[in-house]
Symmetry: C2
Subunit: 315 residues, 2 copies
């Protein structure tokens, strides 16, 4: 089952002819989630051959235009495409007001329901189903800004079929999948879990850290994340400007990834002043070697994997 | 002095990979005016190497997203570009409210003043300076929609220098430029205007007729226009759909151009269903041969020309 991030835009405040404004499309188990929606995102989705009406949720980090100006156009195109399925939009206070006003003046009655979820308390779990949880955290920007962490739910251990007696009771199977050993009524160990089950698959996770000053307070929430996106508007040469505008440098993104023990780092939200991004990449890699540049159309996929050498038992 | 229209977007409700949403850049005497501003317009301006901070006015025809969603991004980029010069935005009721709300939530204090001019009465002259007048007219669409007519102001006749006596008084020169003959104090004809002046240059004009049902009521305002843009969302095969959605067919655009005695017709605002636009062009040309397709990057220029055989005298 896929767990992947497609980059739709990697530019910051203004677009360039090569880079679009912030947006990413997540595919988790064939459910689609859009992260930010800068101007032109619907065109990027078209180029990526994504089916816009399969998008289930849209998460908007903050109300600077480069992160949400494509939203109304996308909503309109979903409408023109005859969407029926509800759309949930998670965003800061004010987003619902803006979109509602735009709908009112265009006199549009959408073909589908839109549910607005106003972000407020952090950290908090803002969505969960049987597959994933989504947690919102606070970024440190000039205006209220949020980050989002997507994580697969804890999975069951996998039975080694040839080692499971045919007549096993359903409740015992559940116990084994939950990692428990099986005991007889008299309390003797009958089946040791580790001998008849494989460890559960790893719960994959992705953290999207939008516009922010370098702030270690996020580390506690993103530690051990498989894939980390962290904004990287400037190179260290413009450290002062990063501080002044509440943005991060590539080096700082690398430090965050290292301290969070992330599996991989994606840097993005590049200032338009950088035509050549290799210096930013080098700077981040100096702190955290497994760093990649966000660029339009790139797909980052986290493979499913079984954890190795995980002790059996316990919950 | 230029009088030209650059097409930035020719698509209707949704963009395609080849066509952007409605926007045109007018250059009249090196003053720049933007007509509509669909999503992605700032990128189109960038591709056209236009200097966004030279744009003096923006005219928004109506509040369907494909005509104004690029506006806030453009305003923001002008801000980031350090604009100082005031920007005037002409648009329907509601536009100022939307933009003001977006500015409020992004906590942006623009580096330049924005003046909103709310369109209301039609027809009316909404702008004039010493070079041009801009008149707003009513389109016939599902929501309030406006068209705009740009016209050079009446010009003076041009003196034929070698025929003008060296000692002529300033007030007589003014009279000649205004087309008057000169008389002596005793009332005798001294100089016949037509013999010492060339006719004035033609006053060039452009009419931008945005989303509309076929409606002959616009003819009185656009008659004899040099260059006419008329929306042409559908071909005649979809006449019913055109009526239902309050749009026009290419054939209808051609009829309007013919009845208005326009110099040239540009058709645009094409439905995304048309990959090949030649049938629409053929249909319009069948009614009005001098028709051209709007496409991204195309420049339509109205040459300066002296009117020929214009009788002298009169004002």
């Amino acid at each position: 089952l896929p767990f992947e991030v497609k980059i739709l835009g990697s530019s910051s405040a203004t677009p360039t002819t090569e880079r679009n404004q912030s947006s990413q499309l997540l595919n988790i188990h064939e459910q689609f989630y859009l992260l930010d929606c800068g101007e032109g995102t619907q065109l990027q989705l078209l180029k990526a051959k994504a089916k816009i009406n399969k998008i289930r949720h849209i998460y908007i980090s903050h109300l600077h235009g480069d992160h949400y100006l494509g939203l109304f156009g996308l909503i309109s195109s979903m409408h023109l495409g005859g969407r029926n399925a509800p759309l949930t939009i998670f965003g800061p206070r004010g987003l619902a007001e803006i979109i509602t006003l735009q709908l009112r003046y265009s006199e549009t009655i959408l073909t589908y329901p839109v549910n607005f979820y106003e972000l407020d308390e952090t950290p908090s779990v803002i969505f969960e189903d049987d597959k994933i949880t989504v947690t919102v955290i606070a970024m440190n920007h000039r205006i209220k800004c949020y980050g989002f962490i997507f994580k697969e739910k804890e999975k069951k251990r996998k039975l080694i079929k040839e080692k499971i007696p045919a007549e096993m009771r359903l409740q015992d199977i559940v116990k084994l999948k939950n990692g428990e050993d099986l005991y007889s009524d008299s309390g003797e160990l009958v089946i040791k879990n580790a001998e008849v089950t494989y460890p559960p698959r790893h719960c994959r996770s992705y953290a999207y850290c939008a516009d922010t000053l370098y702030d270690e307070r996020i580390l506690q929430f993103i530690s051990d994340v498989d894939l980390l996106y962290h904004e990287s508007t400037f190179s260290s040469e413009l450290q002062d400007r990063a501080i002044k505008t509440h943005h991060s440098t590539a080096r700082e993104a690398g430090i965050i990834a290292r301290k969070a023990n992330a599996g991989m780092l994606i840097i993005g939200h590049f200032s338009t002043r950088y035509r050549d991004l290799r210096p930013l990449l080098a700077e981040a890699r100096n702190e955290f070697p497994n760093t990649m540049l966000a660029f339009e159309g790139e797909l980052f996929s986290i493979e499913e994997k079984f954890l190795t050498n995980v002790p059996s038992g316990g919950n």
